[in-house]
């Protein structure tokens, strides 16, 4: 499965469309990205607080069990029975002392070790397995687990060079620590299936200025405008990024001038119930928007007082699932909880400021599918060449950063590639 990309530019300002639609590319992504030297988001510690608590999830196409053992350690393993490949754990969540596959009742402890095989010694001395069968060699495949402020990450590379803190880097770590600065409580879940290649979504999360054009609600009601004070930051290898904006840092008149003919409707439209957009400051800074994206499968968001993680689960070349986990803080008042529940109208599959993403990705996926091998996306907003942080939010640079790291992992970098 060797892949050759005829890069038109070394700075990833041209992306061939076939990379979103190719079977070999997809298989290599599973191998070199999700099984490669990366850490993936698994869940929140608050979802499995007690010994025996478990949750099932996915890393790329691989089913994973995350559980807490009797010593309160969090462990993760592939949810695939060593016997015949069936899912050992069929429930979304629960509590158990042992994971038992229903098919032939092979059972595994909370560390993923194989502890029980029915008929291993046969029946009445007849049949069974040979004496040399070694149960210790047939446990569930383990992931290495790392936690940062209550967020659980895992990697299939037991000997990965970077710890989770190194992998996240100072920028992502700081963002996660800001969001998770005190104990959280999970408020609930949303899910959606988007019919497009998963990379379109990773790009969408890094191209932050689409928000102020595509998501008209943001602009119309002054929630996030490109004219606000803010910026985009990446880690040094451009794997992750953070977009942020400061509350009330622009004027309606600035926005009208900048958006020109796009038609800002802020004169004519107001909300009958403005509580939806109220911002209650709760961090030491005045950012009302801070959304970070972690390579390869997660995003951590704050918009006003709506807090959530988003997890991306690949479902083949043409689809992915997006799982939203909303949270508040353990010491939130009832009023604050109600406020957060009200503001989650902004996000999710039907979010007033996020519903458009699914449509944008689906139309991009549909229309780029039949493109010839020379057809490319054009990523030049914010300039070509060097991939670095910009103090202005209108740019495609972080998207080029994504492709730079992606190509490094996939072994697709052109000679003399910009990193």
């Amino acid at each position: 499965m060797s892949i050759n990309v005829d890069w038109e530019r070394k700075d990833y300002s041209r992306i061939p469309y076939w990379l979103y639609h190719d079977k070999d590319v997809y298989e290599n992504e599973q191998k070199h990205i999700f099984y490669g030297s990366t850490w993936s988001y698994l869940c929140l510690e608050a979802e499995i607080p007690n010994p025996g608590d478990y949750k099932t999830t996915w890393v790329g196409d691989t089913p994973v069990i995350v559980n807490r053992d009797s010593e309160y350690n969090i462990r993760a393993m592939v949810n695939r029975c060593a016997h015949r490949g069936a899912a050992v754990c069929r429930e979304a969540r629960g509590n158990t002392k042992v994971h038992t596959c229903i098919y032939h009742r092979w059972s595994y402890n909370l560390s993923g070790e194989l502890v029980g095989i029915p008929f291993q010694r046969g029946i009445n001395g007849k049949g069974g397995m040979d004496k040399d069968f070694d149960k210790t060699k047939h446990g569930l495949k383990k992931l290495r687990v790392g936690c940062v402020n209550g967020v659980v990450f895992g990697t299939f590379r037991q000997n990965i060079d970077e710890t989770i803190e190194d992998y996240l880097g100072p920028m992502m770590s700081a963002h996660i620590k800001r969001l998770m600065y005190k104990p959280i409580s999970v408020l609930g879940y949303q899910r959606q299936r988007i019919y497009g290649n998963w990379k379109f979504y990773l790009e969408n999360l890094r191209d932050t200025y689409h928000a102020s054009l595509l998501h008209e609600f943001l602009v119309t009601f002054g929630l996030d405008r490109a004219t606000q004070k803010g910026g985009v930051e990446m880690d040094k290898r451009h794997r992750h990024n953070l977009t942020y904006a400061h509350a009330e840092s622009d004027k309606d008149s600035d926005a009208k001038e900048a958006y020109g003919g796009v038609g800002l409707k802020s004169d004519t439209l107001t909300l009958s119930d403005p509580r939806l957009l109220e911002f209650k400051r709760e961090y030491s800074d005045d950012r009302n928007l801070a959304i970070s994206t972690m390579f390869p499968n997660a995003s951590f968001q704050q918009l006003n007082n709506s807090l959530a993680t988003r997890q991306i689960q690949t479902k083949g070349i043409d689809a992915f699932d997006l799982v939203w986990t909303y949270f508040g803080y353990e010491d939130d008042s009832d009023e604050m909880t109600n406020h957060r529940l009200r503001q989650l109208n902004l996000f999710g599959p039907g979010g007033l400021v996020s519903m458009e993403d699914a449509e944008a990705i689906e139309i991009a996926h549909r229309s780029s599918k039949g493109a010839d091998t020379k057809s490319t996306a054009v990523l030049e907003v914010g300039g070509k060449g060097e991939i670095s942080d910009r103090s202005y939010r209108v740019n495609d640079v972080a998207v080029r950063g994504f492709w730079s790291y992606y190509s490094e992992l996939m072994g697709l970098e052109p000679e003399g590639a910009v990193r």
């Binding site: 979304a92 999970v186 408020l187 609930g188 879940y189 949303q190 899910r191 959606q192 299936r193 988007i194 019919y195 595509l214 008209e216 609600f217 119309t220 009601f221 409707k265 439209l269 909300l271 009958s272 119930d273 939806l276 699932d321 909303y326 909880t337 529940l341 009200r342 989650l344 109208n345 999710g348 599959p349 039907g350 007033l352 519903m355 458009e356 699914a358 449509e359 944008a360 689906e362």
Partner: protein, 157 residues
């Protein structure tokens, strides 16, 4: 004991509910609610876990109106047509001018090229109130069984 006339009127309310949504007559749909209404779309999973996250939450008619105005003026969504099938309307209990009514729903959705699929199914958990001789909704919670939303959610369920 609820009268036959009232039963028919409650059935009509559900029929109007589906009809106005399918016809994209969202302002008419809005008038099926009282000002102090509560409208939500709830993933079945959250309901069973006792979690309160919804897919849409309007805590009064103003918020519901804001949602409609936003859909019409400030949102982009997939070009689609909905078709509601509402059945098993069951009046769970009734006292004076208040009735608790549940009904099952299925929504088929078609796109601009004439393809279609089952978009959403579940049930409505509602509270119906008599106002000036007319039944209106004071609460609608659409509990979604297939709560992993295909594509996206724009038109209310």
């Amino acid at each position: 004991m609820i009268s036959i006339q009232d039963r028919l009127a409650i059935n009509d309310l559900f029929n109007d509910y589906g009809f106005f949504l399918d016809e994209e007559r969202l302002e008419d749909w809005l008038e099926l609610f009282i000002p102090e209404c509560n409208y939500s779309i709830m993933p079945r999973e959250n309901l069973e876990l006792g979690l309160r996250v919804t897919l849409m939450l309007c805590e009064n008619k103003d918020m519901l109106k804001d949602r409609i105005v936003s859909l019409q003026e400030a949102n982009e969504f997939n070009i689609h047509r909905d078709k509601h099938l509402i059945s098993n309307v069951k009046i769970q209990s009734s006292d004076n001018d208040k009735s608790f009514v549940t009904a099952n729903y299925a929504i088929y959705q078609s796109d601009f090229e004439g393809n279609g699929s089952l978009f959403s199914f579940g049930h409505y958990d509602t509270q119906v109130t008599m106002v000036n001789g007319q039944f209106k909704f004071s609460k609608v919670m659409a509990v979604v069984d297939n709560w992993s939303i295909p594509h996206m959610l724009s038109t209310p369920i």
